[in-house]
């Protein structure tokens, strides 16, 4: 059985104040979910006294981290719910669909290898109907497109010789679905005289944790930690463009593994915009931005908020002359990684997403900016605005400035 290695005292600080339940996007949408308080600290307390309990209601937890952000006592609720998920799939088994969804990386490898066919098939109604029947993946749910020229095929650099060096973790989404995000990031770094390498890497594990595949997730975590520590020990900074992967590197690896290595790596990890902001603060950022006359709306992913870093994407984009950006002030998107791809969660996913769509509509900007690929998937389905990653915009401004000069 899985052992929870975190400081056992942490959940004891829970005062049952309900701040987590009041802030939980799922609990606020459906009464089917037991809620973070009950399935987090309360369940853990009960298990410590009575033995392992398998609670099916944990399936509704998306690991968005809203509970962690809301807790006035600093209880790591998601660490507890992630382990409750692991217990549930250990005891009750894992649906084939959840197993597939949790393996975003090999799905990505396969789907992108046959990309034109995959995308075509995924767009066909009869295929989707079969998927709904066989896999419990709703036919109406839009899927991100897969790319044959995925990032693994086009970028293989392993060593850098510049003063600042970046070890980039691309994540499954930028690798298989949006290599343009990864390439934009590399371009942005180039404009700052920083070489980027891509160390050997596996899926960050977030989809596995979310589907109770804790063992596999931790295996990936240990693989990534070993691989990236080799670089940080040579003076590389670890930078990521996906907020969920970033949160895994910064927080979940440490919470779940509680090893010195995980802690060591976490102290070198930055979100891409956070890294640019750091360069700005130390006077190293290339400020040669071409003006852009844009009024953008920003959608903040839960896993960005959970990092406790303010709003670095907006801080950076506001440096571009003429660029106006406003946070639309929305909560969770409801896609929540693999959650929104499940038939029995689909209605909840859509219900959570609707206020977000309203918020985007209310601000009515030229387009929406967000870092998270899965939030983008939901934004694509629920709004009529184009969605861009901040790195694409920064790269564009740099590139234009280069042409102008």
């Amino acid at each position: 059985m899985l052992e929870l290695k975190l400081d056992e005292l942490t959940f004891d600080k829970c005062l049952k104040c309900n701040a987590c339940v009041s802030s939980c996007p799922v609990a606020n949408t459906t009464l089917e979910f037991g809620g973070p308080k009950h399935l987090g600290p309360e369940l853990k307390r009960l298990m410590n006294n009575q033995g392992i309990i398998d609670d099916k209601r944990i399936e509704f937890c998306t690991l968005c981290g809203s509970c962690d952000m809301s807790c006035p006592e600093n209880v790591h609720v998601t660490t507890l719910t992630a382990f409750a998920k692991a217990i549930h799939s250990d005891k009750s088994g894992t649906k084939f669909r959840d197993f597939v969804l949790s393996n975003a990386e090999w799905v990505g490898k396969l789907a992108s290898a046959f990309a034109p066919v995959t995308n075509f098939a995924m767009g066909m109604k009869p295929v989707r109907k079969v998927m709904e029947i066989v896999m419990d993946i709703p036919a109406e749910r839009q899927f991100p497109k897969y790319r044959f020229h995925n990032f693994n095929r086009v970028y293989k650099k392993k060593t850098a010789s510049t003063e600042r060096k970046v070890a980039y973790f691309a994540g499954c989404y930028a690798t298989f679905n949006a290599p343009e995000v990864a390439m934009s990031f590399i371009k942005v770094m180039e404009h700052n005289g920083i070489e980027v390498v891509k160390p050997d890497q596996k899926c960050c594990g977030v989809p596995m944790f979310a589907n109770g595949q804790m063992k596999q997730g931790l295996k990936n975590a240990n693989h990534n930690i070993t691989s990236f520590l080799e670089y940080t020990r040579q003076g590389y900074d670890v930078v990521l463009t996906c907020t969920s992967c970033t949160l895994a590197f910064k927080k979940e690896y440490v919470s779940f593994l509680n090893t010195e290595e995980a802690k060591e790596l976490a102290s070198h990890v930055y979100d891409a915009d956070e890294y640019l902001r750091l360069l700005k603060e130390s006077g190293e950022l290339n400020m040669n931005f071409a003006p852009m006359k844009v009024r953008a709306g920003y959608y903040a992913p839960c896993h960005m908020k959970a990092q406790g870093i303010g709003n670095p994407a907006m801080d950076i984009l506001e440096l571009i002359p003429g660029y106006e950006i406003q946070d639309v002030g929305a909560g969770c998107c409801g896609q929540c990684g693999t959650f929104g791809f499940k038939t029995e969660k689909y209605d909840v996913s859509m219900a959570i997403g609707r206020p977000m769509a309203e918020a985007v509509k209310e601000v009515d900007a030229d387009y929406t900016v967000t870092e998270c690929g899965m939030c983008k998937n939901q934004l694509d389905q629920l709004t009529d605005k184009t969605v861009k990653h901040p790195m694409q915009i920064v790269a564009e401004s740099y590139e234009r400035a280069k042409v102008l000069s």
């Binding site: 962690d68 807790c71 910064k250 908020k305 959970a306």
Partner: protein, 383 residues
């Protein structure tokens, strides 16, 4: 990096951040949890847990120095803000009103949302509870209310929200259900039925838990009032009170939309000082310790209940910046660019451990004003 950094996102912190941002300052807010509005009743008292008007309040809180115009200005600003956010507050600090709480006790309050109405001395009232919400017990409320208001004629009704739940339902869960018309209609129908069957005479007031809708509270309130033909009030009790959640969610959204930068799930573990005062805050996120630099800082960490002050065997400790505090919780040698607001101002402004919403509004408003004046003077000096 920031002009103003606020520590804490309770009522004081949130208002300070919004008002600082409205002055055009680059503002950040650092917070550990979601703030204590979540645990509050959402009504703003003068002296929490005690009666007493403006005179007693100013004596107790040592407010002699505060000018009337400042007080009026702060309350006006709060009302303007909540109105803009679609959740207007009414009432005034000179004329407190009695309201009924979720325990059946009566307290006097100064500012309250439109979902709350004062309770009268006599007349007929009906307390409505939901079977699923166990925190609100009409019979128990009736007992306490009857003691406080012997001349009231009180009836109780219990109805069902008609929904199965996988968790113990709170007032907030009921409120989210009542945001939907079909649930609202279902409840109204049951109340009417019970009124007829049990021959309860038409009351002047219906008392509900703090559950009258979240997003659509206005419609919910109107429907109940119209269909039941009487005034309807919420009686806030055990958190989460929807009265408070509405305020919290709207203030937060406003602050985010204005561009306040939120550093949540972080803990302030100290600060770096220079000759001018605080230079930066040291904050701990999950696995990083970083600095946030700013020109001016607002301390809104609350008193003992909020976690900003801690009573230890060595005396009172200020927990965030680890500054020295006296036995009254006042910071000794407060840095020039640090502005404590609300309960962070020591025990002289807390009663039963909390400050009372009105003082939070007043001190946030006053401090942002002061900080603004300082910034102007500073600007002239450095020009």
């Amino acid at each position: 990096m920031y002009d103003v950094v606020v520590i804490g996102q309770g009522l004081s912190g949130m208002l300070s951040a919004i008002w600082a941002k409205e002055h055009g300052y680059r503002t950040a807010l650092v917070a550990t949890g979601s703030g204590k509005i979540m645990q509050s009743t959402g009504v703003l008292d003068l002296i929490p847990g005690a009666d007493g008007g403006l005179k007693e309040w100013s004596e107790l809180y040592q407010l002699a120095a505060i000018e009337q115009s400042q007080l009026t200005g702060a309350m006006e600003q709060f009302k303007i803000l909540t109105k803009r956010l679609g959740y207007p507050y009414k009432g005034d600090i000179e004329h407190l009103v009695p309201i009924v709480m979720g325990s059946g006790h009566i307290k006097e309050t100064a500012l309250y949302p439109e979902t709350i109405s004062p309770i009268k001395e006599h007349g007929q009232v009906v307390i409505v509870g939901f079977d699923e919400v166990i925190d609100f017990q009409p019979a128990y409320i009736k007992g306490n209310l009857q003691k406080a208001r012997p001349q009231l004629s009180i009836a109780t009704i219990e109805i069902s929200l008609g929904k199965q739940s996988q968790r113990t339902m709170t007032q907030l869960d009921a409120a989210r259900l009542l945001d939907k018309k079909e649930n609202l209609d279902y409840c109204i129908k049951q109340i009417k039925q019970q009124m007829t069957v049990r021959e309860i005479s038409q009351p002047d007031l219906f008392i509900f838990p703090a559950s009258l809708g979240v997003e659509n509270w206005k419609y919910t309130l109107e429907q109940f009032t119209k269909e039941l033909g009487a005034i309807v009030t919420e009686a806030p009790g055990m958190p989460p009170n929807t009265t408070a959640i509405r305020l919290h969610e709207r203030l937060k959204k406003e602050a985010v939309k204005l561009g306040v930068r939120f550093y949540v799930d972080t803990t302030v573990v100290g600060c770096k000082m220079d000759r001018a005062g605080i230079e930066s805050l040291t904050i701990k996120t999950s696995n990083h310790t970083t600095d946030i630099s700013g020109k001016q800082f607002i301390l809104a960490t609350g008193g003992i209940l909020g976690g900003g002050l801690e009573v230890t065997s060595d005396g009172v400790k200020e927990t965030a910046l680890e500054l020295d505090a006296d036995e009254n919780g006042n910071i000794i040698h407060c840095p020039e660019n640090l502005y404590p607001v609300g309960a962070s101002r020591g025990f002289s402004v807390t009663h039963n451990g909390i400050t009372g919403g009105v003082y939070s509004v007043l001190s946030s408003h006053e401090m942002v004003d002061k900080l603004h004046q300082q910034a102007i003077i500073g600007g002239i000096r450095s020009a």
